[in-house]
């Protein structure tokens, strides 16, 4: 293997994404901050053929990271590298090949498909736009993609409203895969599906990933789903990556108190509500201009210096990082 092959497929460095809260006069007159930092100084790598899970509650910035990697949002700071090429500031024209390489599967498949297009049109359009194949090969490509996603090929003629949630998600997956993408960002692709259908789609992801060695960033609020599919998991809390580790390691030896709290909710679901400690305190207010650790109010390990600055990432061991001053006490 040449060193070039060993370079990560995707490298995210010090990513900062912010959204404007107030504009113009309101911003000038308001005492509060003008921006909300949805993603704050986040760095991680994704290797080829790897499934990286991004786990966090709503508002933690996990979806924003996914969309920023696809350049659907513009980062305020930081670098996104794909195969060693910095795509952070590429113009639309030079970005086009990366648009093909980076595909997304959204949470709500109904709103990610055009209601007036048949499945055939939804799948054929990107093939033609990116000149993936000759026009006379399009039908074969679509049939292939549908069968891979576990749908009969006669679904080509269907419109989105004629399909169930599980079937729609299969179409969305088929569409992403026709591009032979280098990286798929899957944003909560099973959270809107019913329990009995969820297993089908998770198994489909697992099969396709293994068969084609696809690299996936899998965004989910459900640690159990992440454990099932992901090789590594990054835990987000209000814009900060607070811990990242191989899946086994994260479950057996979590270091960040927030990761521990999340894992604690899993134990409860197996048993009852009795006899466990509640997480006290209110969640961090992302619109406040806090300099300290964002988990401070809820944290059982907090000490005075946690108030002064958000802890930077430390290596617990190779491949396992945590952003907590007090992780050794945990």
């Amino acid at each position: 293997m040449t060193p070039r092959d060993e370079a990560p497929l995707l490298a995210v460095r010090n990513l900062l994404v912010r959204f404007r809260l107030r504009q113009g006069m309101t911003a000038a007159l308001s005492k509060g901050p003008t921006y909300l930092k949805a993603v704050d100084d986040v760095s991680f790598d994704v290797r080829r053929g790897e499934v990286l899970g991004l786990v966090g509650e709503s508002g933690s910035g996990k979806t924003t990271i996914g969309k920023t990697i696809l350049r659907l949002y513009k980062p305020a700071d930081g670098v996104i590298e794909v195969n060693g090429v910095d795509i952070t500031h590429l113009g639309e024209r030079r970005l086009k090949p990366y648009r093909r390489d980076l595909q997304m599967v959204f949470q709500d498949p109904l709103s990610s498909l055009n209601p007036r297009h048949t499945v055939r049109t939804a799948l054929a359009t990107p093939l033609l736009l990116h000149a993936i194949c000759r026009a006379d090969e399009v039908e074969t490509r679509i049939d292939e993609a549908l069968s891979r996603a576990g749908l009969p090929t006669n679904f080509k003629r269907r419109y989105p409203h004629e399909m169930s949630g599980g079937q729609l998600q299969r179409v969305a997956i088929a569409r992403a895969l026709t591009m032979s993408p280098a990286l798929v960002v899957a944003d909560e692709p099973v959270s809107k599906l019913d329990v009995s259908v969820r297993a089908q789609i998770l198994n489909l992801f697992k099969d396709l990933q293994q068969a084609f060695n696809i690299t996936i960033i899998f965004i989910t609020h459900d640690l159990r789903v992440a454990r099932y599919l992901c090789h590594r998991i990054g835990v987000m809390y209000f814009g900060k990556l607070v811990e990242i580790a191989p899946t086994e390691e994260l479950f057996s030896a979590p270091k960040h108190p927030y990761t521990k709290a999340l894992l604690g909710t899993l134990d409860e679901s197996a048993a009852t509500l009795e006899g466990q400690s509640a997480v006290a305190g209110e969640a961090f207010n992302p619109a406040a201009d806090t300099v300290g650790c964002r988990y401070f109010d809820r944290c059982p390990l907090r000490v005075e210096r946690c108030r002064a600055a958000h802890p930077s990432f430390e290596d617990v061991k190779s491949g396992h990082g945590v952003a907590c001053y007090e992780w050794r006490r945990s």
């Binding site: 329990v195 009995s196 259908v197 969820r198 297993a199 159990r224 454990r227 009852t272 509640a278 997480v279």
Partner: protein, 329 residues
């Protein structure tokens, strides 16, 4: 039985659309006793929400509802006029929905909502009249009980200034003040994050302990039903397919659908290499299978399953299942 708060027999509900009527709930029987929490479990499209809504007459105008009997504390709900029903809902039945935002008047502060509840319930007893006079202190105490320590500040906020978890807490405080005889909760924690969800579920447990009322809890989440409910009814494609005490149903599910649902729901709780799937999808209410509704997806399907819909078999001990595998009696 005299302690039955709500008793439903033979409930059908559906919607008329473009000249035809599509039934989405069929032949539902339900009993909820005082102090008991009954869960209706089902996936989307199973009819669980429509069941709750039709009992409360909250369905839109194009809805069609029939029932043999709906009895609430000795009152025949089917015979009530719209006005009498609204009065009953306002005094004795509370609802908690998935989206707490809709339960609040966006133009009014939190204190207005709490005050309204205290004033409305003043008619209940002289003690309630006193309570209504001192509603402010009582409201702050209730907010504290549901985990909002700085209630006096929160009272001055508008609903949009509170997070989803805070709103759901405030709503539960209102339910506590209201002291209803029946609470219907429809997926009250689905929009919340894991940690907040646990906090709210714990509050529901407290509600149940404090109020001693009948509780109908509608959810798609097996583990939540397991935590909270005394008895559950599992719905599939508009019908109850299995019912019984929660512990027994979880320990030994009888219907193949319940078995599959439990396996899928609990499979992720432990580390696993391969999830067990239930093949296929829920049937559309306009295109139901001729016999057993689960037959096309069932591992145990026999020719007779396609012939006709199995009746509910009584397995004793409060358990019932709608499946030919148990049709021995």
């Amino acid at each position: 039985m005299s302690d039955v708060t709500l008793s439903v027999r033979g409930l059908d509900a559906g919607f008329s659309m473009g000249g035809s009527t599509v039934m989405v709930v069929r032949d539902v029987d339900l009993d909820i006793r005082k102090g008991e929490m009954v869960g209706i479990i089902g996936e989307s499209g199973s009819g669980k929400t429509v069941t709750g809504m039709s009992i409360l007459r909250l369905l839109p105008d194009n809805a069609v509802t029939h029932a043999e009997r709906i009895d609430f504390l000795g009152t025949d709900l089917l015979g009530l006029s719209a006005e009498a029903f609204r009065e009953l809902r306002g005094r004795r039945i509370a609802m908690v929905f998935q989206d707490p935002v809709g339960a609040f008047n966006p133009a009014k502060k939190v204190e207005w909502h709490l005050k309204e509840i205290f004033e409305r319930s003043a008619a209940k007893s002289p003690a309630h009249v006193d309570r209504a006079k001192n509603w402010h202190g009582a409201a702050i105490q209730l907010l504290k009980d549901v985990g909002i320590p700085h209630g006096a500040d929160v009272m001055h906020l508008f609903p949009h200034q509170l997070s989803g978890g805070m709103l759901q807490r405030t709503l539960i405080a209102m339910v506590l003040a209201f002291e209803p005889d029946l609470i219907v909760a429809d997926e009250p924690t689905t929009n919340l994050d894991n940690i907040v969800e646990r906090q709210i579920l714990r509050l529901f447990r407290d509600l149940q302990n404090r109020l001693d009322c009948a509780f109908l809890f509608i959810t798609h989440d097996m583990s939540i039903a397991h935590m909270l409910c005394d008895r559950i009814a599992v719905m599939y494609a508009g019908r109850i397919v299995e019912t019984g005490p929660t512990k027994q149903v979880f320990a030994d599910p009888k219907h193949p659908y319940t078995q599959g649902l439990l396996a899928s729901a609990l499979a992720l709780d432990t580390k696993t290499e391969r999830l067990k799937e239930i093949p296929g999808e829920l049937p559309s209410p306009t295109d139901l299978p001729p016999g057993c509704l689960f037959e096309p997806r069932c591992d145990f399907a026999k020719p007779e399953c396609r012939a006709k819909l199995p009746a509910m078999s009584d397995l004793g001990g409060g358990r019932g299942v709608r499946c030919v595998l148990y049709n021995h009696a």
